[in-house]
């Protein structure tokens, strides 16, 4: 399992808003455990909602990181409020629409809407709202010396950013 819970960035307004999508596919191994056959219950593949939370965290995290050109190590510090009202299955697409609500040197708060696209009916339906807070990892946090390079925004993210047309950041 690669730790990449968004597939493509489809819109970006610097320092303000980012929209990303994730396709859900039966080729993803974890769907076969969530859920497998359990006694009389048949197998039912559903995107785990904790990973939907991660998709929003990655979308909002890139947005927050981009404000300072990815120099800071931005990490999820708090889930203020997250609600997922409907579940997502294979063959559907999840859309994460994240906006920075407030940001200062100590951290940022973001608000996002989660929507689900059904390829059969070709409609988007809003299924959730997620509010998150991010802070910066200090160099000497928790008694650990952290690697100097910004490991938070690694190669996976840069690939997605380049695919979306951002090839000018360092």
């Amino acid at each position: 399992m690669r730790w990449m819970w968004i597939d493509a960035i489809i819109a970006f307004e610097p320092k303000a808003r980012m929209v990303a999508v994730k396709n859900v596919s039966l080729a993803e191994e974890h769907l076969h455990d969530h859920f497998p056959v359990e006694g009389d219950l048949p197998a039912q593949a559903l995107m785990p909602n904790s990973l939907i939370l991660e998709g929003m965290a990655q979308t909002a995290g890139i947005l927050v990181g981009s404000v300072n050109d990815f120099r800071e190590k931005v990490v999820l510090a708090k889930v203020q409020n997250a609600t997922i009202e409907a579940d997502v299955g294979p063959g559907e697409t999840i859309r994460y629409d994240a906006r920075i609500e407030r940001m200062d040197a100590l951290g940022a708060s973001t608000v996002g809407v989660v929507s689900r696209f059904d390829h059969q009916t070709a409609t988007w339906v809003d299924i959730g709202r997620i509010e998150l807070m991010f802070s910066h990892l200090d160099q000497n946090m928790q008694g650990m010396d952290l690697p100097k390079e910004n490991f938070v925004f690694g190669e996976n993210f840069r690939t997605i950013l380049r695919a979306a047309g951002f090839d000018r950041f360092r």
């Binding site: 455990d33 039912q44 904790s50 991660e54 999820l76 889930v79 997250a82 409907a86």
Partner: protein, 142 residues
């Protein structure tokens, strides 16, 4: 990867479960989270709490409940390979729409003594039956 985020149940009561998740370098996603600095992702701590909550609910006959919401959940210390996350979830109440609210905490179990705080995660969440369509707007929100 197999999507099992709890390895063993340590304590089991009608409204409370304590469970353990070992963190091992053998878990592949750690290569990406983060390169050179592997730590258990925060949402996997939430998933561990949700799976522990499911243990409580299954015993009550509430099968296959999924994570519905998360509220005021704070992250603290990291959990690194060789360490474990001990989650404790307690039922708060059942809500009118059929969901069940929980309080959950996770602490880091370390092999060596440390003076870094051991709270890794703490917050509230709800579990609800699987739902393919959002509830109608007019119904009371939980």
């Amino acid at each position: 990867m197999h999507f099992r985020l709890i390895d063993t149940v340590l304590e089991r009561e009608p409204n409370r479960v304590v469970a353990l998740k070992n963190v091992s370098s053998a878990e592949e996603y750690l290569q990406d989270h983060f390169p050179g600095f592997p730590v258990l992702p925060g949402v996997f701590m939430v998933e561990a709490m949700a799976q522990a909550a499911r243990e409580v609910l299954e015993a009550q006959g509430k099968r296959r409940y999924v994570l519905g919401s998360v509220r005021a959940l704070r992250y603290g210390s990291f959990v690194r390979p060789g360490e474990a996350l001990r989650v404790e979830v307690t039922v708060e109440k059942e809500l009118p729409d059929g969901s069940v609210s929980f309080r959950g905490t996770g602490t880091v179990v370390r092999r060596l003594p440390s003076n870094v705080p051991d709270s890794a995660v703490a917050g509230r969440f709800t579990m609800r039956p699987i739902r393919r369509d959002p509830p109608p707007v007019s119904s009371s929100a939980s």
